[in-house]
Every structure is written in C-alpha cells, then in structure tokens.
C-alpha cells in the first residue's frame, strides 16, 4: 500500500518536471558537454571490458552489462554532433560537417561494431568478446584518426 502511494507521488513529481518545455536545440556549449559525457561513458565501459578480457580485474560475468551499455550509447552517436558544437574546448574537427556522408558512414561502422560486441557478450564466449572488442577498437580509432584533434594524454 505504501509502495503504491510512493509510486504515485513519484509519478506526479516526475511528470511535473518532464512537462516543462525542452529546448528544441541545445546551445553549442551544452551540446559539446553532452557529447563529452557520452564519449566518457563509452571509454569507461571499454576500459572495463579490456581489463576483464585481459584477465587483470573484473569478472567475466560483468562483460555483457558493459557491452550492453556501449550498445545503448551507440544509438546516440548520430545525434550528438550538432553543427557548431565544436566549441573552443571541443576536439571535434570541422571536417565532420564538411563531409557529412563520409562521417555518417564512420558512425555507422561504430554502431555496427558496438552491436556486434553486445551480441558476442551475450554468447558468454570471452575469446569472441576479445575479437569483437578489437573490431570495435578499429572503429573508434578510425573515427578519431580523421575527425578528432590530436591530443596528449
């Protein structure tokens, strides 16, 4: 009974918040920050998977949850490169918007590799995950080579 009331209260509060108008298009700085969050999430899960496949840390049973997170994030790739979002701090190169078709192909390769990784992970075959992960790395690297500024780590 108490649970039901709590859910009802939560639903009311959340829908009140969500009924506030959402901006049609974020400003350039916010668009950039959102993209950074997505990329940071991607590398977090990628780093975690690599530690499991290398046998350094983490449990193989956790691979599929990281892979699924990556596959879920892949759905956002095509919408986080808003024109003009290459603000001063951004490492996105202007060529992204100069050759949109080629860039879209690169994004599609990334989406495909992420889906393949998730599929390999659900089969519970660590070696297959390792191979799929390499293929994903090639897609990440390929995009960064052409579309991201060189930077130091």
């Amino acid at each position: 009974m108490r649970r039901k009331i709590m859910s009802a209260v939560l639903a009311t509060v959340l829908s009140a918040g969500l009924s506030a108008p959402i901006a049609a298009e974020p400003n350039a700085e916010d668009a950039y920050k959102y993209r950074e969050s997505i990329m940071t999430s991607l590398k977090g899960h990628a780093g975690a998977i690599s530690m499991i496949t290398r046998g350094l840390a983490g449990d193989p049973s956790r691979i599929s949850s990281h892979a699924e997170a990556i596959a879920n994030l892949s759905a956002e790739l095509s919408s986080i490169f808003q024109e003009g979002s290459n603000v001063e701090d951004s490492e996105a190169l202007p060529i992204i918007w100069e050759e949109p078709e080629k860039f879209a192909e690169a994004v599609a390769r990334g989406e495909k590799a992420m889906a393949a990784l998730s599929a390999a992970a659900s089969d519970n075959d660590v070696e297959a995950v390792g191979r799929a992960f390499r293929k994903l790395g090639e897609a990440c690297k390929g995009c960064h080579e052409r579309y991201r500024k060189e930077h130091h780590h």
Binding site: H144, R146, H152
Partner: protein
C-alpha cells in the same frame, strides 16, 4: 652467436623463409608509413610521401625493386651502407630524415632479410620528387657535415647483464622501431638529445607534439603497466579506455600491431626500465 640469434629472434622463426622474416622486420622497422604516399590509392613502399620538418619538406624514396626509380639495382652492400653509414649507392649522404642514426644499430642478417623481402615485391615505376629544403642544407654536403659531428656508425650489441627480453626491447625501440626519432627531443639542428631519451618532442614532424614515453608518472607513461603498453601497441587503446587517433594510430596499424605479443612485451619492458624524465619545454 646464441645471443645474436636471440636478439634477431631467429630461434623462434627457424621455419620461416628469409622473405617471411624480412616481411616481419619491415613491419618492425615501420617502413611502410614514411615510404608510402599519403593518399587512398597510393602503392605501398613506392615513396613520394611529403614529410614536413623545420628544415623543409622531404619526399620519401621509392623502395620497391624498380630498376629505374626504386632500389632494384642495389647490391647487398648498397643496402647495408644506407642503414649503417647513411650513404646512397653513389656515395652521397642521406639526410637523417631517413633515420639511419637509429637504423645503424640493425644487424646484418636482419637487413639482408628486409632486402630479400623488398626485392620479392612487384617493381613499381614512380619517380620521387626532389626535397624542398632550406637553402643552408640544400646540398648533401650539409648532411655530411652534420654527420661528422653527430653520427656514429655502430651495430647494436646486447648487454649481458640484462635479460634477453630487455635486450630484444632495446633493439626494437632504439634501432628497428626507431621510436626516438619521433619521441626524443632534438636540438635546433635536429640532433637527437639522447640524454633525454623518449621524453617527447614538442616540435615533431608535420608540426605534431610527440608524447613523453618515459616512465615519468606525471609527464610520461609511468602509470601504465606492461600489459597497458603491450595492449596499446596492439590495438591502440589507452589505459582509460580511449582509442588513439593521432599519428601513432598509423604506427600501430602498420607496425606494432603486426609484431608478436612477445615483441610488444619486450618493447614495454624496455620502456618501463629507462629513466623517468619530465618533458622538455
């Protein structure tokens, strides 16, 4: 003799033909990137890549075995002298854009295997453009003068107090892989500052900043494990899960990813052992 075999890795590759061994070494020597034009239709190793430097633009030569435009007329000694002495078959000096200051350490059997592989390729007719250099180094005598002061012809010899793995790593990093040619700082006259080995070069080729790869914790790769380094050289992933897109990406694709895991571990072992240095200004 045994030590020499271990350093050249010949014991592990006894079943290979010389050409197969040479192909592996060409990858370890990272020849493909400099000697291939930077375009989608470029023929590998046929030269013509523009390499920007503070001294002007160099164009890499055609190293396919074409008689007219490549190295097809070269003898074994011509090939050895190019790497060991930095001179071409006519006796002229090479500019150290061809990294013979590192390659001078490469052993005879390895070089001859590399030549055998190159000579097994299809000859490609492609003339190399002339270098476009600053006036004060536009004659090869300038390269000769530079060499007099700054270059010693010397083969690698393994240190008996170090492990085989360390020695293999030293050979791959200092000589075949010539990592310092990008990652070691240079003076204004382009001389490698060996006392700052691999501490990074803020004025790298094509105006890039080459990172510090000494084990310095803040400025270099001191927090990377041997596994992190080996894995990076294999697939280009950094320890935080990011994937490189810099010039190193091509080195990984065409060179270090083609090595055996043992060789990458050897490289990592060597890198973890050198002096941790802060980066030059």
């Amino acid at each position: 003799m045994i030590a020499a075999l271990l350093i050249t890795g010949a014991h592990a590759q006894a079943q290979q033909t010389e050409i197969e061994r040479g192909e592996y070494l060409i990858h370890a020597g990272a020849c493909i990137d400099c000697h291939t034009q930077d375009s989608d239709e470029a023929t590998p190793l046929a030269g013509g890549r523009a390499i920007e430097s503070p001294f002007g633009t160099f164009f890499s030569p055609n190293i396919t075995p074409d008689i007219k435009t490549g190295i097809g007329s070269w003898s074994d000694d011509d090939f050895l002298n190019a790497f060991w002495e930095g001179i071409n078959p006519e006796g002229d000096h090479y500019y150290p854009a061809f990294p013979y200051p590192s390659y001078t350490g490469v052993l005879r059997d390895d070089l001859l295997a590399m030549k055998a592989y190159l000579f097994s390729l299809k000859p490609v007719e492609k003339t190399t453009p002339e270098h476009e250099l600053a006036w004060y180094i536009s004659t090869r005598m300038a390269a000769g003068a530079w060499k007099l002061k700054n270059f010693d012809s010397e083969r690698f010899s393994s240190g008996p107090e170090q492990s085989d793995r360390w020695n293999r790593g030293a050979y791959l990093v200092r000589h075949l892989g010539h990592c310092g040619e990008c990652h070691t700082p240079r003076s204004t006259l382009g001389v490698l500052q060996y006392d700052q080995e691999l501490a990074g070069n803020p004025n790298g080729p094509d105006e890039s900043k080459m990172p510090n790869i000494t084990p310095h914790k803040a400025d270099g790769i001191g927090k990377w494990s041997v596994s992190d380094i080996e894995y990076f050289l294999d697939i280009g992933m950094l320890p935080d899960g990011d994937f490189v897109g810099s010039k190193m990406s091509a080195v990984i694709d065409h060179s270090t990813s083609k090595l055996t895991k043992d060789d990458r571990v050897a490289i990592a072992t060597y890198l973890k052992s050198i002096a941790p240095l802060s980066s030059p200004e």
